[in-house]
């Protein structure tokens, strides 16, 4: 098996339920080293939950998640924190620490984990901020940033410890086209320039198709399609076609489960 096709993260037979609702059943996913892997699916399919499972913020009911061959469910706290230092995660809303400036937010992991002198920390932070185009915003507070800028700062913070795996949770949501274009470019550039592995959770088909090497489409708790973005575009499966082409109705119904419309209007469902 070549270095490029080696799986860095393997998910096997994963089951996870939240209350009475089963989110995943027998989910199998491979994240290849050095690639940008997209996890796609309609809203509410559990894409963010999957990221939380991969990073062991929650535990699966069944199945295993191997990161670099290690079953993360079996790690103790110290080992878990060791493995998390290999991850960088970009949260949907940025999750910047609101009482710290942009500079201090990016410097935060360095100050917490290393004894580097201030001069060196300053050098590293400015390098990372320069990479996301926000060196000039170093002194600003998170409340002064736009959504796109906050996400770029969060990206700089996520990569300040030079992680092996970068995880993006819905990085394109709510961004204007310019900011979206910037983030799309950064995802690809960071992956290639730093030689890392990226996992992008998104339902923005067009944007993600331009950067992903491999995509998984998850619906109804399991993988319904996987392959390159081109493969998914050409897929004949109804659910894949509905999602990839943004059709309002199909296997994923437009209407949420409800009683008969006429019966409800006539009030016969009232008891």
């Amino acid at each position: 098996m070549s270095e490029q096709s080696e799986s860095l993260i393997e998910i096997r037979g994963l089951d996870y339920s939240r209350g009475p609702r089963q989110i995943f059943r027998n989910l199998n996913v491979d994240i290849k080293r050095g690639q940008v892997t997209a996890i796609m699916g309609p809203s509410g399919t559990g894409k963010t939950t999957l990221l939380r499972l991969i990073t062991r913020q929650i535990l699966p009911d069944k199945g295993v998640i191997l990161v670099g061959g290690q079953d993360i469910a079996q790690l103790n706290t110290r080992e878990l924190y060791q493995i998390r230092r290999r991850f960088g995660m970009l949260f949907q809303n940025g999750a910047l620490l609101t009482d710290l400036s942009v500079f201090e937010n990016v410097a935060f992991p360095l100050r917490e984990h290393t004894d580097l002198p201030n001069r060196l920390i300053r050098h590293i932070v400015l390098t990372k901020l320069h990479a996301v185009g926000l060196r000039g915003a170093a002194a600003m507070m998170p409340s002064q940033l736009s959504g796109g800028m906050a996400r770029r700062v969060a990206l700089a913070r996520a990569m300040v410890m030079d992680p092996e795996i970068l995880i993006y949770d819905e990085p394109f949501v709510g961004l204007d086209p310019i900011s979206m274009g910037v983030i799309v470019r950064l995802v690809r550039r960071m992956n290639d320039a730093l030689g890392i592995t990226s996992i992008v959770v998104s339902h923005d088909v067009r944007e993600i198709s331009t950067v992903a090497d491999c995509s998984y489409l998850i619906s109804d708790g399991h993988v319904v399609a996987s392959g390159s973005p081109d493969d998914l575009q050409k897929a004949q499966s109804e659910i894949v076609r509905q999602f990839m082409h943004g059709m309002a109705d199909g296997p994923v119904p437009f209407h949420f489960s409800a009683p008969d419309y006429a019966e409800q209007l006539l009030g016969r469902d009232w008891s």
Binding site: T55, Q57, Y81, Q82, R84, R85, F87, M89, F91, Q92, N93, A95, L96, L97, T98, F108, P109, E112, H113, R157, M161
Partner: protein
């Protein structure tokens, strides 16, 4: 039968939460040495947030509580021609009871709510999850300094409350109502024992631990929504007020 079942489950829930609260307290204590030794700056910053920023409300309240004690003391004691004892009565009331109790209630309203809502919002905006993902323990980094900041601040605020309260009583009884200056201080010196002061100190330390513990507990366990954070903030004040008053009774009963 249904009522009995509900009462049973309510009790069960209460004891479960109480047990979890004790484990949480132990977690905070376990993280304390590391933070005090390696990150004292974080604790000092929280002493400023919980203590220094509560000074205005504590001092203003103390002045008026002391003033009321001066008025009421003078009014009651003058019926027995004992108005010269107003200094002793006001001081004993402040040092043993009102100082620690009112400071704890004000602390819960000012610093406790600030702590709970800050931690709750950090949770709601994924800041705590982000720390977890950066391999930084949010209990040690966020909760322990805030808890210690509250614990250190409370006795200091109670001491300041006592001093300002005594000055308020002095101003009303001596300056406005004409109680003898020397009698005010002499009666205080004669009647206030070190044991009275120790009782107040013990109470303020216990209330500081309880008020800070409940604030960080409620914030950390808040449902991460606007409504959830609001509820956690309200619960902080209610739970602290009840706990402080119950503990006050218990400590007083032991001291007497």
């Amino acid at each position: 039968m249904k009522i009995i079942r509900e009462i049973y489950f309510a009790f069960l829930g209460f004891f479960r939460t109480f047990g979890a609260l004790q484990f949480f307290f132990l977690r905070l204590l376990a993280g304390t040495p590391l933070i005090v030794v390696s990150r004292p700056g974080l604790v000092i910053h929280q002493v400023y947030n919980a203590g220094a920023l509560s000074l205005v409300i504590i001092m203003v309240s103390a002045l008026f509580v002391g003033g009321v004690l001066g008025l009421q003391g003078y009014d009651s004691l003058s019926k027995f021609n004992a108005e010269s004892s107003v200094g002793a009565v006001a001081t004993l009331s402040l040092v043993k009871e009102l100082g620690p109790v009112v400071t704890a209630l004000l602390f819960a309203g000012r610093a406790g709510t600030a702590l709970a809502s800050e931690i709750g919002l950090m949770k709601a905006t994924d800041q705590l999850a982000a720390m977890e993902m950066m391999a930084i323990n949010p209990v040690n980094r966020v909760l322990v300094p805030r808890f210690l900041g509250g614990v250190i601040s409370m006795p200091l605020l109670a001491a300041i409350f006592n001093v300002i309260g005594i000055l308020g009583a002095y101003f009303v009884s001596v300056t406005l109502l004409g109680v003898d200056f020397g009698a005010f201080w002499e009666q205080m010196q004669l009647n206030v024992e070190p044991a009275d002061i120790w009782e107040g100190i013990v109470k303020s330390i216990v209330f500081g631990v309880v008020a800070s513990l409940l604030a960080v507990w409620e914030g950390y366990h808040a449902i991460p929504t606007a409504e959830g954070v609001g509820r956690a903030t309200t619960r902080t004040v209610v739970a602290t007020a009840i706990a402080v008053l119950i503990l006050d009774f218990m400590i007083t009963a032991i001291a007497i």
